[in-house]
């Protein structure tokens, strides 16, 4: 008995101490980014290319844009890679970020059940479609998590003069979760939802959902990248972070982004200047 329990403790101790070695990855940066870039598989495609070239490991924390910006404002990341222009500009103006660069864009799509209870299928007018969904009281699954996609969705409701807060809990369902979780919810209850095209294309559990509305200019979805300000947070790895930014807005990074396709379709279109 003594030996077996002591043995077990020794094993635990050994595993606890074993950390020293595994954690010793010398050059790395932490990037706070969005669920859409991770769930779409983009990072799995481009980051190994960068790491091989630069020797810098990129550690991605994928959360909603709202939370990613909070992480940046606390100085807990070196680089921000997000998609909500007004929040990004505010972040830089507040002195938290150095400079915002264009990286790429894709677009949002409205997905919905094939039965199409609100009769919006094939529309190119997203605000009109939202009005019809509200009028039909067709179920709509909202991220409701302060992400870039959620902020975009709210601005569209506002444009259509629809008070979704009042409808919350009836046809308007606030999931308070990431893009994938919200799509799972929408698939399960045959609801409409606003999704970024990247996540939608790589999403597997579609059930009866299909793209209902696309192609409206309002659905443009640009991504920006920002170095967290080292003058505000001296521990920020400015050199390594800037190296990543320079790569991703440079020729090689832009090519890597364009090279990420699913079924022949590009998920993101590079647009760095």
């Amino acid at each position: 008995m003594t030996r077996s329990i002591h043995g077990l403790f020794a094993l635990m101790l050994a595993t606890a101490l074993g950390f020293g070695q595994t954690a010793a990855q010398e050059k790395f940066i932490t990037v706070a980014s969005t669920t859409s870039t991770q769930a779409s598989g983009l990072f799995d495609h481009i980051l190994p290319i960068f790491q091989q070239k630069s020797g810098i490991q990129v550690r991605v924390v994928a959360v909603g844009t709202g939370q990613a910006i909070k992480i940046g404002e606390k100085g807990d990341a070196d680089v921000l890679f997000v998609h909500h222009r007004p929040s990004e500009d505010k972040f830089v103006a507040g002195g938290f970020g150095v400079k915002r660069y264009d990286v790429m864009y894709n677009d949002y799509v409205v997905v919905g059940p094939k039965s199409d209870p609100a009769k919006v299928m094939g529309s190119k007018d997203v605000v009109g479609a939202f009005k019809r969904i509200a009028a039909a009281k067709a179920p709509f699954a909202s991220r409701a998590d302060d992400s870039g996609t959620h902020k975009m969705e709210l601005s569209l409701w506002k444009e259509g003069a629809i008070d979704v807060k009042a409808a919350s809990g009836t046809w308007y369902r606030e999931t308070g979760s990431g893009m994938g979780a919200t799509l799972n919810t929408a698939a399960a209850m045959n609801a409409y939802a606003l999704a970024d095209r990247g996540t939608w294309l790589s999403f597997k559990n579609r059930a009866d959902l299909t793209v209902a509305v696309e192609g409206d200019r309002k659905l443009f979805n640009p991504y920006g990248i920002i170095l967290v300000n080292p003058r505000k947070f001296p521990h920020v790895k400015a050199d390594l972070g800037q190296a990543f930014i320079d790569w991703i807005v440079g020729k090689d990074g832009q090519q890597a982004i364009a090279g990420y396709t699913i079924g022949g379709e590009s998920l993101f279109i590079p647009d760095a200047k």
Binding site: M1, S4, I5, L8, F9, L11, M12, L13, T15, A16, G18, F19, T22, A23, Q25, T30, T35, Q38, A39, F43, D44, Q57, R59, V60, V61, A62, K74, G75, D76, G178, M179, G180, A181, L183, N184, A187, S202, F203, K204, N205, R206, F233, H235
Partner: protein, 235 residues
């Protein structure tokens, strides 16, 4: 039912091919949770024994608080540890946020009350049963601690296993303080959450099956160890 079939197929193929990503994730899960269990055990056995054996003012309150903390919500623990370890927080200079160490800290906080509460109960019961005997041998609470811990080792081991179960199964805390970073802080539970968010329910469930099998394997191994020790000891 096709989902379950696909999940089993995914689980079997991941195990059969010894998928490198899977091995890494399982290894990290075990390292984080076993480290947390080890540290929490070192804290909570003496703590549980002290609360069981010594009478001091506010002891009742300590017992109630320990019992209540057994139900700590992981996501709240995660949030508190996050705020503590954030660069803007009191321990920010250590730069521990989004590392396995942060995950261990969160799990230690989660499971220490569980092990301590169960240990307190075990030792208190033993003390009630044997205190007269021990006192007649001239052993007060202080001298009896070692003997009681030793006598209750089998029950205490179960308490430690309960802590391990909680640590390896929770997702809320490690998601927040670890960040689910690939190759760095991704463990079984956060990997499952990620696959769910990708809509790959079969792979998610396949990973879930592996997690359950692992958990059964570990507790089974513990059971065998315990039984053989019990027999060897003639207890």
């Amino acid at each position: 039912m096709t989902d379950f079939g696909a999940a089993f197929a995914a689980a079997v193929s991941l195990i059969a091919t010894l998928d490198a990503g899977l091995v890494e994730i399982v290894g990290l899960s075990l390292r984080v949770s076993l480290s947390a269990v080890f540290i929490a055990t070192m804290i909570s056995l003496p703590l549980g024994a002290a609360v069981a054996l010594f009478r001091f003012p506010g002891r009742g309150a300590v017992v109630v608080v320990l019992n209540a903390l057994m139900g700590l919500p992981p996501v709240v623990v995660g949030l508190i540890v996050y705020l503590m370890l954030s660069r803007a927080g009191p321990f920010g200079v250590l730069g521990l946020l989004f590392t396995p160490t942060a995950m261990i800290v969160a799990q230690v906080i989660l499971i220490t009350p569980i092990i301590a509460s169960l240990a307190r109960q075990v030792i208190e019961d033993l003390w009630e049963e044997y205190s007269e005997q021990l006192r007649s041998l001239g052993a007060g609470p202080r001298q009896a601690v070692g003997a009681l811990l030793w006598d209750g080792r089998f029950s205490l081991f179960t308490a430690v296993l309960a802590g391990f179960g909680r640590a390896s199964a929770e997702v809320g805390a490690v998601m927040i303080v670890g960040g689910n970073i690939d190759h760095v802080t991704r463990v079984m539970t956060t990997a499952i959450a990620l696959e769910v968010s990708k809509g790959d329910l079969a792979l998610a469930l396949g990973l879930g099956i592996i997690l359950i099998v692992l958990s059964v394997g570990i507790t089974g191994a513990a059971f065998v160890l315990r039984e053989s020790a019990r027999r060897a000891h003639g207890a």
